[in-house]
Symmetry: D2
Subunit: 418 residues, 4 copies
């Protein structure tokens, strides 16, 4: 605990653990929020281009979701439901089927594995290992899949891995798209390992991939690369798991980030924005024929967070019955890309939909940009192995004016820190 | 999917995964709930002696918590806060300090590790391994600590362990209290392993224990045994972690289940009833000097579930500023024990506070009792390695009449299935 | 490297690694040996009650084995044979069958897994895991089974375990006979773990045991305990592996140390004295129906050390066609036990056949006894978790006079160090 | 056990385990051997181009080694010496220093880790992990380093890995030279993983490499690639271990196979031909400053196989005091390469010194070639992940006539099986 001389330490400093993180980057106390803006306890507004690390794709306290939530709670709907059947869960399942699965022809069963992303990933790993009878799962350089022990073994970040305190095993990393700078054909190394019985790679149960690596530095896989990966999985008898926890729910335009590539993963994990209101919820989706679970073989106390089912249903009804949101996201993607492209020369931009990264030479500069943006009223954060990438995740419901305003603040922050 | 001929399968049967479990034991669709009762969509009431597996110690939709929750959501309070400082989190920390920590003289820092119990356990394991630089963690026979890979390695249940699909390592099991039928002194085996450098036990980082094993069959550790364990940990330089996820928040009478034994664990995990309203939330508490985390070394998207902080604060204010609830729970404990004691001869009762187990000869009978209780309007479930124990977890706010009613139904269910 | 001032360091000190060990306890340079005596380069004789850690049961350069060895080498017999069929291997197999297996009714196949004990143990582990499809192998407190990674995971000694540099897994330790001081029924803990599906013990593939733990401090299992273990393995479907590397080949009287107990293990490992001449050789024996190996699935460059087959054959022919050696060993066992029993009060003796341990209060005293014995012309070494046990392993061919002489020196060493 | 109808099964078939392997490829019973020839019990000679898998570089029963061995055994020299100091070990250490280490300026300490190759590799792994405090060791595709659990984790072959029966961990495979067909710069992938803290590769303790992969299919690393690897290890703070068990002792020309590349590994393992006579012996060599072993921290019953020290000393004296053998091996290498190059078109040759591989389209053809060669009186075996490479390892002492004869038989075997 580092305190400034002469000040009285706050309860955050005296009682909350040193593990706290975002409160250090954004040193104020937040009180309320609507749409794309948070307000601190002194009423100061901040434009939010972080959106709960992608959990608030529809903005803060979106009234379209808030009304049904208040109604549900007000009428004493089931709050905590484990995996009992409830009317709220039924509505969600029916809506998810009719608004998401059926229009896309996706043959998935829906599992509620517990309300966080890492619960969904742990469930996906268990299922892949059970179905195949194998142990090794392949992930990619700079992947991030969560902080519990199974998910952490898939994660690239050395600091987070070291936090495990035990060796992480039964996983192998392969190069993500662009990782080797285009100096080698896609999947050359991976395929050689698979085809050669002397390679030392135990035949994997599954491959898990993010189509855009958010924590890893906004690394965008090409659709062609994703198709190559899906093809490799099919030919080499490995399950393909797409971790769409951060990039799903419209972040890249389509509801699922893999739709653009035209692939159908065997397993998909969703969380973050699936409830739409920032409430804890996650899903694990898988092909019908993979549904070999015994009842209760994976469970979790909060897997039936019914208020989240209510807002999730409202969000699907409001935003995924037509392509309005999707089309707007794709249009804005082009605009954001163009705007960021002009911020050079000491940074370069990359992204898809409304997730964009601005890469600087090092983490020091990127952190300085974020600090300056905070001072100017914009919330953005860094990512990447050396924190060298400023990551933009505005709500998909951001207005044109807000988008312009945020990009303008960002441009100033870049200039001020040059 | 097993369907009855001639019926139209429901969306639960066609879309939800086979992993669903409680909905099979309680085959109806629930719609709303208040206090100790759930109601299905046809308006049929059920007395709830399961309480969200211990997540609803204050009952369903308790108005004392509901009002501040609706006010908070209505005023657009921060919903999703990561680990940003918020006014809601500040209120919770201040209340937790003044109502829980200070009156008990507990020197704990508070960590928000993600909103589920297994997140808290995974964080506790990481911290214990980081602080000590060791890897082995000792748990007990019939322990249950969660379903992600780190927590699962601590869990005794063979079926759940097998679900991991990979070997579970860096853990060792020791006999829980009563496990060896009193035919050996407490900790004889554990202490011999620790004192003998040829025993093959790598020096443990920590010991994790439930004071009452809920999933394991309502196995109650004696206060004397817990004191012996705390003493062993101190003498042999191991951290003591009490997993109070199911038994904390007043379930056994005191706020923490270990208070009766007069011990102070190094690390405590809390979840389930800490939010008081069934909303996902968990805490990891540890001695100040163990707070060696780097910022963000453990994290999670939903670790700042601010609506849960609001209900948690209200619950602490309403129930833990004095000893009313505690005293009533202890009084009722005696009454429940007496009533269950009369149910024999084909079952035996054990418990503490308002967690009680009724052990039958086998799982078949215990499951039959639960099914019959459901038909009679009471929700109870089995636990134990062979499902042989009917577990009672009524809300702590249950009325005397409801308690009598539930125990009466249970008695009938036992008789009907004899 | 610690050198005495003014002396010229030897090539052992300047070139050989610091890992060298016995040369520190016995600081001279040995040149030749016959029977029970070694001679250093100055011609000084030492009576050898260590016998190559049990590898020289028939003494040094026993002429009964030496003649066929010189003949074989002189006639250009195959030296290095991998697992080719050779006339020397055929003779050994035929002799082992007729002198060892058939008279005892043992239904074993014979595997040559590589010439060291740890090779045999690694092979036994692989086979047990392959046959059962399970992973966990149970060993006992203070066990020693070798230094390669698979065997080391079975070993109790903390220092040796730490040397692995990686966590040792897929093994669990149980209490050896007498370990809990008789305060608990035999196998109470082990059997409870096996019968309880909530115990956290993954069903073991096998149990591996030494009937007398040599490195562990000459801990002698009772025949009754061994029978209980064999019965437990049978009832609970676990393979029983007896590691007879140090205690086989007549060390305890019978050829196999488990014969006294009347049990038939599923797998037996032999090494050390099987060649009879100190030449590297080991065997893994197993029931015919367990012989599920694929050709070459386990191998090793030196598994066909044919000169060792020649001496092994000669040793079996000379010593195991009748019970002369066995009977003499058992008679002497009583004499040694009686003599050691008179050495008190600051030590206590235990043993079987011609392996005996003399336990002192601590390692310092036991090491002092060994140092003094060396000065007086007797080679003995310590064992046990704290080096507190002086271990006696005279050649089985020791004469009565040599035995008296050695025990006399030992008695003096004990007195001199009191 | 498959028996031919009407024949009496041999003791090999009835008593020896099914794991036996070479005896199936070469179905006769061998009796004696001299120089490059083995003779079966019917006196039929076979030219040996396998040389004990590289353990008999100086031929069978070489009289230059045989004389001192018989003298030593005849004079009752120490046979089994653990790590006691003996005159035979002193002679070996002095000779190894003066004939091998000093002329090459190699700063190595010498460890006797047990008499087999896998003992030496296990010791090297322990030391690398102890010195660095890290766990991961990098090996290469198609590597072979032994069959005990630590070494097996480094090995590429899927069948051998599966034999472990437990997951193999703490190792990672990288592409060996030529593995990716020249379509990617050397070490591109390995270096990216090391430089990127988000790559998921835990910083390795060490890299272990064979300069020519014998079991892997006679894959020859270029000197330039080896230098690049040594440079990478230096820059990235990883120990470089060269496993010279099969390729050392002159097999490629120089005493060590890495001399040609001009590199100095941190650790070197030697076995197979180090005793020169086919007797079990191995060494682990390492830089003086890495000699951090505690006395006895790694040990083994047969680490002091003194007869092997005697033949090893004689072999060094006879063959490594000048460059005669080395120069002849290099000259012959060219001749063998030229002769094999003419065997096409359905095979291609590669090699170095006197280790050569002849690659066919598949294992079926390669095995047919070996079988036919056996019928014609030549012993050769297959290697490679699909057994598709016929491997030639003639004794270095083979005469010109024998070399011509063997290559002639091989050519015929290739033609006969076309």
């Amino acid at each position: 605990m580092t305190l400034i001389a002469g000040t009285v330490p706050t309860v955050f400093e005296t009682v909350e653990s040193e593990v706290r993180s975002y409160c250090r980057a954004w040193p104020t106390v937040f009180e309320r929020a609507t749409g794309s803006r948070l307000y601190d306890e002194h009423g100061r507004p901040f434009l939010d281009f972080f959106a709960g690390a992608g959990s608030l794709n529809y903005g803060h306290n979106n009234p379209v979701l808030k009304r049904p939530l208040l109604d549900y709670l007000g009428s004493d709907g089931i709050t905590h439901g484990l995996d009992m059947s409830t009317t709220a869960k039924r509505s969600f399942l029916e809506t998810f089927r009719s608004a998401v699965l059926e229009p896309r022809g996706l043959p998935y069963k829906v599992m509620f594995p517990g309300p966080t992303g890492t619960n969904a990933v742990e469930a996906a790993l268990k299922l892949a290992r059970k179905v195949t009878g194998r142990k090794t799962v392949v992930s990619f350089t700079n992947a991030f899949h969560g902080m519990s022990l199974g998910s952490l073994a898939l994660t690239g970040n050395a600091g987070k891995r070291a936090g495990a305190g035990v060796p992480l095993s039964h996983t192998t990393q392969m190069p993500f798209d662009h990782y080797l700078g285009g100096r080698t054909p896609d999947f050359l190394w991976f395929e050689r390992l698979l085809e050669d019985s002397g390679s030392g790679l135990d035949h994997p149960a599954a491959v898990i991939v993010e189509t855009v690596q958010g924590e890893g530095g906004v690394n965008v896989a090409r659709a062609e690369w994703l198709r190559g990966l899906a093809d490799l999985c099919r030919r080499r008898d490995m399950l393909l798991i797409v971790d769409d926890i951060q990039m799903g729910c419209g972040r890249t335009g389509d509801f699922f980030s893999f739709e653009e590539a035209g692939i159908t993963p065997d397993v998909v994990t969703l969380s973050k924005s699936i409830s739409g209101y920032g409430l804890p919820m996650s899903l694990c989706l898988f092909r019908d024929e993979l549904d070999v679970w015994e009842p209760g073989e994976h469970n979790g106390t909060f897997r039936g967070n019914n208020p989240a089912f209510v807002t999730a249903t409202a969000a699907l009804d409001a935003y995924w019955r037509d392509t309005t949101l999707r089309d707007r996201t794709l249009r804005r993607s082009a605009a954001v890309g163009a705007a960021l492209g002009e911020l050079g020369p000491d940074c370069s931009a990359r992204g898809r939909g409304l997730v964009w990264g601005l890469e600087f030479a090092d983490g020091e500069r990127a952190r300085a940009v974020c600090r300056r943006a905070f001072d100017l009223g914009l919330l953005v954060e860094t990512s990447g192995p050396r924190d060298e990438v400023v990551k933009l995740l505005p709500p998909l419901t951001v207005t044109d004016d807000e988008l312009d305003e945020g990009l303008g603040i960002l441009a100033r922050a870049v200039r001020h820190t040059a």
